[in-house]
């Protein structure tokens, strides 16, 4: 009897072990990106842009070209790459501290210019690398290193909804929010990331995928408990769904 391979590491994902904490969602999201690149067969002309944050070393984990931008400036660096090498597939991979805090101007204007690139935004409501400080996406009442009594809306404002904000702009063609809290949602996330890269390959324009993710270490939870916490607390604040789909890729798929 022969055995057929059902699942293994995608070719675009390098053999380097991830430096992420046990249970971190970054590993799965990296895999989904690598699988999308492999399925579209564009690895030879893909250039990724890593952020500052936990995923700062993302260039170690992919078998295609990678760049690393200053904090929050990944969309600006990606704009430069895409405009000088328009034949390449360019994406940024950013966290919430990078994209929603210091890099808000860059992402909004890259989206508004409708740059033909893909943005993968990992939102786990906390700063991971620096040790669990409050992020713009932290929930009201959420305890972090810099909000030990819980986030107070009176002084720290409300969690920022990047997908909804970007969907109000004219230029973006695809804005969606997904999560990977279970395998069904994980498969939807995979499809969303694939759609976002497909749109870029077809030259359609700016695609934005927000992935609601966990940070077990800084949330102080076990990975499986963190996914439960995400489902109960984060998803009501950050509802899943597609906010903009100009070319109807989701229905076509």
């Amino acid at each position: 009897m022969t055995m057929k391979k059902v699942f293994s590491r995608p070719a675009s994902l390098s053999k380097t072990p991830f430096h992420y904490c046990p249970g971190c969602d970054h590993g799965v999201i990296h895999r989904l990106v690598a699988e999308a690149i492999d399925e579209l067969e564009v690895a030879d002309r893909t250039i990724g842009v890593a952020p500052v944050g936990c995923s700062v070393f993302a260039y170690d984990y992919f078998n295609f070209d990678f760049n690393q931008a200053p904090h929050g400036r990944a969309p600006a660096v990606a704009t430069g790459i895409k405009r000088t090498r328009p034949e390449s597939i360019v994406f940024t991979y950013q966290g919430d501290g990078d994209l929603a805090a210091i890099g808000t101007a860059e992402i909004i204007h890259a989206a508004n210019r409708g740059e033909n690139m893909t943005v993968v935004f990992v939102n786990n409501a906390i700063y991971g690398m620096t040790g669990g400080q409050m992020a713009p996406t932290s929930l009201i009442g959420m305890k972090t290193q810099t909000s030990p009594y819980g986030r107070d809306a009176a002084t720290a404002g409300h969690p920022i909804h990047m997908s909804e904000m970007i969907a109000t702009l004219e230029s973006p063609v695809y804005v969606t929010r997904v999560t990977i809290n279970n395998v069904a949602n994980l498969m939807k996330a995979k499809k969303a990331i694939l759609n976002a890269f497909k749109l870029q390959k077809e030259g359609k324009g700016f695609a934005f995928v927000e992935v609601v993710a966990i940070c077990p270490t800084n949330w102080g939870k076990k990975p499986a408990d963190a996914h439960k916490w995400l489902t109960e607390n984060m998803l009501p604040v950050f509802p899943l769904g597609t906010f903009k789909d100009t070319h109807g890729v989701e229905k076509a798929a």
Binding site: K5, V6, F7, S8, P17, G23, G27, V28, P216, A224
Partner: protein, 70 residues
């Protein structure tokens, strides 16, 4: 050849595969890896349907799944 193959050197013992296996046939092994974690292990491979839920959940992409071809 086995259906469920893990690269133990990548496993960090997060337990997501164990929590999500629909047949509950995954558990922590009773030996330590050089990294100092108890890796995931399969307890009854004859029950495994090669659904790959464990492999898709694995943040380290440490699991490979094979299926018998008839």
């Amino acid at each position: 050849m086995s259906k469920w193959v893990i690269n133990e050197s990548l496993c960090k013992g997060c337990g997501l595969c164990i929590a999500r296996c629909p047949l509950k046939i995954l558990a922590y092994a009773d030996h330590l890896t050089p990294k100092g974690v108890y890796p995931a292990a399969i307890t009854d491979e004859s029950k495994c349907t090669s659904c790959a839920i464990c492999a898709r959940s694995c943040p380290e992409v440490a699991i490979e799944i094979y299926k018998e071809e008839k």
